[in-house]
């Protein structure tokens, strides 16, 4: 067990180091979410009255598509250098390797959220309270588990760019329903914040457990 955790941390550290040296993904994602806000501005005709009701929707749209890009890239380096096969040939358990990749991709997406939320506050005039941050982070956990699972799956499939959104988006819907509710309430709409957050935690547990059970079947050759 401790061994698996060490493997997962080592894989995550490797991915983060590679990202730190190349600095490819995070700047691209940051630019992507800012662009999404700019496009939303023209799509919605935002003014000071409707900004707070539109902002939660824009937040989730930007986050979902940034997530697709981030998780789609998670296995790109391994695929290009065929290093996943080499990692799987080591005695390390595939689930630990998968957990490490998922952890790294999640941290990169959190970095992207650290750009998205202040940018949203700046351009849409919303307050970014701890309640909003908590809901977004909770949703990120489950979305990352599912996103990485399907990214690992489609990494060896042709037309992977087509398939990843098709498989991932429907399974993310529960997180967007609950997370959307939580963020709307936190930004001033009426509703039950505690219930939405409790639901997010339930979904996180359910999908993290299911994903770790399924990871073996996706990564095994």
């Amino acid at each position: 067990m401790t061994n698996s955790i060490a493997v997962a941390l080592a894989v995550a550290r490797k991915d983060l180091t590679a990202e730190w040296r190349t600095r490819e993904l995070v700047p691209a994602l940051a630019q992507f979410v800012v662009l999404a806000l700019v496009i939303a501005n023209f799509g919605f005709q935002i003014d000071s009255r409707n900004a707070s009701s539109i902002a939660p929707g824009v937040l989730w749209l930007a986050l979902v598509f940034a997530g697709l890009v981030a998780f789609g890239r998670a296995f790109a380096a391994e695929r290009e250098q065929a290093s996943l096969e080499a990692m799987l040939m080591t005695p390390a358990s595939p689930v630990a390797i998968f957990a490490g990749k998922a952890l790294a991709a999640t941290l990169l997406l959190v970095l992207c959220e650290a750009v998205l939320l202040p940018a949203l506050a700046l351009f849409f005039g919303t307050t970014i309270s701890p309640a909003v941050v908590l809901a977004v982070l909770l949703a990120t956990i489950g979305m990352a588990a599912l996103g990485c699972l399907f990214a690992a799956m489609v990494a060896r499939v042709r037309a992977r760019e087509l398939l990843l959104p098709l498989l991932t988006l429907p399974l993310w819907i529960p997180f967007i329903i609950a997370g959307g509710q939580a963020v709307q309430v936190a930004m001033g709409a009426s509703g039950n914040y505690d219930q939405a957050v409790a639901l997010l935690i339930d979904f996180d547990i359910l999908f993290v457990v299911l994903t770790s059970l399924a990871a073996r079947f996706v990564l095994d050759e």
């Binding site: 799956m153 499939v157 398939l163 098709l166 399974l171 819907i173 979904f203 299911l210 399924a214 996706v218």
Partner: protein
Amino acid sequence: MNKYEKAAAAAVALMLLAAGAIFLYAPTDALQHEVQRIFYLHVSSAIAAYGCFTVVLLGSAIYLRNGSLAADRLARAGALVGLVFTTVTLVMGMLWAKPIWNTFWAWDARLTSTLVLWIIYAGYLLVRRLAEPGRQAARFAAVVGIFGFVDVPVVHFSVTWWRTQHPGPVIVRDALPPEMLATFLFTMACTVVLAAVMIAIRYRIETLADGAVTEVPERTAAAAPREPEPSR
């Protein structure tokens, strides 16, 4: 006629009987008039679709457990037939909703979860098509089949604390007059038989496509693909 053609003919005859019961035997609803007759096939095909997706879940789980190719083919057949019945459910529901709710679509818990169901299993069939044929496609699709089945109650549950306007379960609440209940139960039985026959035919097609059957009688091999094949 081989046994598949006979089974298909029997299923079609049963569906015609059900249509007769729906239009001639069942009484007209006092409030919704003729539109209410959509209910019988709408709910029946929803139940048939859930049955098909249960077949996908079982087939996928068995495949992941012991790699049985037959289980995988069964899952494939179930996904395709289930998708057809989900489409029927959605389209008939929308036709009913337009006169009754004055809109084709509402973001209600059942409508949303049924649409997500449709999208997930359409994705399942796409994985089968895009992944390398063989073990890899089967394993990936099995994972999608299992996650999809889990996701649907989750979506349903998470939307129920939104407003819901879909009619509640009239059958369990014993709210139907006996003639309507009899018509519904008969239609449901016929639809489930139709789904089972379609899965059997599709299973046969998948078997032939896999080339798993080495000695195929000439006539069967030629006849099987001519069965009413649901569009992908």
